[in-house]
């Protein structure tokens, strides 16, 4: 049973629509075993709570708070997965924008300030993203708070939402995957939850890819819940150094969030489940040939008496079901720590590898290749700045005739490409260096180019003409007094020639001139557009989502797919990374228009309802669910109702 309570009466059409939606939800509740309860009402806000009983006996909830400004009928929404900003996030490097509630605290002000530091619920924000809704475009028309778990550190959802999909949303720190039904937006229902104990071989969920059958693959970057050996769904046994350690895994999730399969990301083990070492290729930057190229902590030798140097910490994930291939990129062992007070971080905790799986058997994919991204022409002072360090994201091409994929490095500042992910020995080459697109924050001269510039979201356009890439930037002074920093930005590459070149592509960034000017070969990507999204917090533009829906004349929506070969005309960005790392963000969510030639322009009509400024700020005191203060928007999706 699902019930709701309203504040003041809403318009009849909306009420009717809600009633229809609620009827649907009631059916879902019965079918899915969802237990419903009634939430508190707030003036002008409709409150609907759905709940589900977890395997641990705890009741988990999602409570929709829908404002009276929500427009009835078909709509397009931006769904933003956001964490409550609180005392856990305050450090010397971050900022809460205009909200100084957690800063400069005088002990005498305690009763007034402590509430701002208090931990509150994480939530999905529902933003009206339909430009024809002139009165509500950019407004937060609803929020969906999750409970009772707090401090989830909301992270990623799937990369793109298709009509009928559930939404999979992960908590980086809570090790939880939430599954939401969004068919009745702006009301959202919790239909599934995957708890830490449901994935004993993996922790720290990062990103998701939803398959045609509605199930999803998720990357779990960290090692097993508990140190020791862990048995995966296919019976393989691997040793792990534990929570947030190594090796990570892939999890296949049902539409209700159940674990269908825990899939090892590391190659088959040897004796006693020992993970085989993944060692450096013959020529590999400043890493000695054959040496372990990936550090795990605790150090090698303390875990087991044999080599243990896996790079398997999958972060990015995209799938080509028509090719039966899944591509994942390894970012870092999540729990890396600085063990020596004066030494730099061990560069080897940042992974240089991309993995390709054969997913013919969806519950038991086969690891086909582990590729070490090649070193580039930059000779960096710090090993962690080399091009191949921190392979955070990957994206596949989309058209049936294309088989390529891209990958990018967060700390290396490089973009890589392989033309054929069905090749068991794929050829990966660097095809672009972020340095070409970067703009210094101060002055006009770059310092060490793309070194640790925070390369993040990487996404092909659905027609394979463009590649979009978000770069968080680098605060001035990060690399010393001479570092002018790098602006936070998103840029577009024209990849037409590269993709069309097929397996005979020639592009290769192998000179410093190509780092700064772009590749010299004719099929190299070219910079088609760039948009600076200024952020002075130390964080910056980390994520993006394509608007894959086009509005029809009757107000309904048609999905843009590779099959109908229509161009994407805009995407949404968010400025937030992970506050506890010292890289926070100004918490802006922006809309970016994409022209036919790939140039980018800010959508100046997508404005904050409180300040009137361009972009929606998640630094605000009040939300539909209450005066809970600032929030941290990590990822977003376009979702439509028809």
């Amino acid at each position: 049973m699902l019930r709701r309570r309203e504040g003041i009466p809403m318009r009849s059409r909306l009420a009717l629509r809600r009633a229809t939606a609620l009827s649907t939800l009631m059916i879902l509740a019965v079918a899915g075993g969802v237990v419903a309860s009634e939430g508190p009402a707030t003036a002008n806000v409709t409150v609907v709570t759905s709940s589900i009983l977890g395997s641990d006996g705890v009741t988990y909830t999602a409570t929709s708070h829908v404002t009276a400004s929500a427009v009835s009928g078909p709509g397009k929404y931006l769904l933003v997965w956001a964490g409550d900003a609180n005392a856990s996030d305050a450090n010397s490097n971050n900022s809460f924008g205009t909200d100084t509630i957690l800063h400069g605290i005088n002990i005498n002000d305690l009763p007034q300030t402590v509430d701002g530091a208090t931990v509150k619920s994480d939530f999905l924000a529902v933003i009206d993203a339909e430009p024809t809704h002139t009165a509500t475009y950019g407004k937060v028309v609803g929020t969906v708070t999750v409970g009772p778990i707090v401090l989830n550190e909301p992270h990623h959802m799937q990369y793109i939402w298709h009509q009928g999909n559930k939404v999979f949303a992960g908590g980086l720190f809570s090790d939880i995957t939430y599954v939401f039904d969004v068919s009745a937006l702006p009301i959202v229902t919790l239909t599934g939850i995957n708890l830490p104990t449901s994935t004993p071989c993996g922790t720290v969920p990062d990103a998701y890819w939803v398959l045609n059958d509605g199930t999803a693959y998720g990357t779990y970057m960290g090692g097993a819940d508990v140190p020791g050996v862990c048995t995966y769904s296919n019976g393989r046994i691997l040793a792990s150094n534990g929570f947030a350690g190594s090796p990570g895994e892939i999890v296949r999730l049902s539409e209700s969030g159940a674990t269908l399969a825990e899939i090892p990301a590391a190659p088959p083990a040897g004796l006693l489940g020992i993970v085989p070492s993944e060692t450096a290729p013959p020529i590999y930057g400043n890493v000695q040939s054959g040496a372990p190229v990936c550090t795990v902590i605790p150090a090698v030798g303390s875990i087991i008496p044999l080599p243990f140097s896996t790079c398997a910490n999958p972060h990015g994930i995209q799938v080509r079901e028509d090719l039966n291939r899944m591509v994942t990129s390894d970012y870092a062992e999540p729990r890396n720590i600085v063990l020596h007070p004066i030494q730099n971080l061990d560069a080897n905790v940042f992974r240089p590898t991309v993995r390709i799986f054969d997913i013919t058997n969806r519950n038991d994919p086969t690891l086909v290749s582990v590729s070490f991204m090649p070193d580039g022409p930059r000779n960096e002072s710090f090993g962690v700045h080399e091009e191949f360090r921190g392979m955070m994201e990957t994206t596949v091409t989309n058209l049936p005739g294309h088989k390529g994929a891209f990958a990018e490095s967060m700390c290396g500042g490089a973009v890589y490409y392989t033309p054929d992910i069905t090749n068991p020995n794929p050829v990966w080459r660097q095809v672009f260096d972020n340095s070409r697109a970067e703009v210094p924050i101060t002055g006009s001269v770059l310092y060490q180019g793309g070194a640790c510039d925070g390369g993040s979201w990487l996404q092909t356009s659905l027609d394979d003409k463009y590649l979009y890439h978000a770069v968080m930037g680098r605060p001035a002074g990060s690399l010393g007094a001479h570092d002018p920093g790098i602006e936070s930005m998103v840029y577009t590459l024209d990849i037409t020639n590269l993709v069309n070149a097929g397996t005979g592509f020639t592009c290769n960034i192998d000179t410093i001139a190509e780092v700064l000017d772009g590749g010299a070969e004719a099929d190299c990507p070219t910079l088609a557009g760039r948009l600076i999204i200024h952020d002075t917090t130390g964080g910056g533009t980390h994520w993006g989502a394509l608007d894959n829906f086009r509005r029809n004349a009757n107000g309904t929506y048609t999905e843009i797919t590779p099959a109908n070969n229509a161009p994407v005309e805009r995407f949404a960005t968010s400025n937030y990374f992970v506050a506890r790392t010292g890289r926070d963000g100004n918490h802006l969510v922006c809309m970016v228009n994409v022209a036919g030639n790939g140039t980018l322009a800010m959508d100046n009509s997508f404005r904050d309802e409180n300040t009137g400024d361009v972009c929606v700020s998640f630094n605000r005191l009040t939300w539909p669910h209450g005066a809970n203060g600032n929030a941290k928007p990590h990822s977003q999706l376009f979702v439509v109702t028809s």
């Binding site: 641990d56 856990s88 450090n91 305690l110 720190f173 004993p200 605790p298 729990r335």
Partner: protein
Amino acid sequence: MKLRPESRHTRLSLTVFAVLETLAIAVAVAAGLGISSAATSGPAPGTVQLREVVLDGEHLAVLIAPGRPGINLIHVGTDGDMSVGRALTAMTPLTEYPAAGGRWALIWLSPGPGTMWFQRGPSRASFPIDTGAATAHPGGQAQTLSGLSGPDAPECASAALGAVLTTRGTVLTGCPTDQLADIDAIALSKLAGFLARRGTPIALIGDSSARSVAAGELVRRQLGAQGLSVLPEPQPGHPVLITAGWAAAKSTIDRIATGSLPALGTYLAPWLLTAPVLANASGAILPLPFDPHASTAQAYRNVLRHLNDIPPSASGYRAFMAAASSQPSTAVRLYAVSRVTIFPNGHDHTTGDGWMPGGTTTPVTPTL
């Protein structure tokens, strides 16, 4: 430098104390805790003192335990050099403890009223303190509290602080290392059962405290009953269970993190949940009878955040709850504590959920 009138410091301290009291009561009420009537009275002589000094405009929390005549532990929420004493002519430098933040000193306090002085460079501040009569307190004199003078004194101070946050007039009669608390015994027993089911022999690392000795006996007995031995020393491929106090535990955790001590997994006694001990804990596992993310635990952590961000601790939280007459839960789950820092920006990461710097505490088992 001209000294500030004592009366001003008195007013300030009282004001701050009143604010803290208001906050603690508000927090406790919000958390559904009971508050004793003693919380509304002034500081009682001979009890644990939570005070404040202001040096160069910086507000510094000061804890004095037990606040009775005799040896007292002074904790100041600062990382800078300071000294403390009952007279400007007899100042004692504050020092660091290996597994605790802030600065510390052990000093002798004479009976009755007096002044507590603090000095940092040329700056001085003071507040009045009354330790009461030498024989007026049932717990005896401070020197009977061996836990306050040993390497794990910060845990004792943390427990005293947790208690005084919700109940002023706290008389400190012992330290957590004095005995194995019932709830800790339950938690360790559950953990031993979990380890026995995994079937891998473990190494046990303790110390000479009464608590650790009792914990070691308990774990050996539990494992032995299920046919599992305790290794004579840590070995590759085998977990380590640490039942030592804060100082020895931190040292052991750091050795494991650097690879100088072999361990396939680190398990910790529940009292080791505090940020300075866990700074380099990599996926360590603790049995806890409470959720560090629960509202009451976060409320306790929030109060400490405003006291120069003194780290919360399991012992402090237990005292915080006990002082408010809250019955501890015996539902134990295993929690993984780990840093999740994932960005090489070269800065010092000191944030987190308060219990684990730059990281998180996450339940990884159902209730055991």
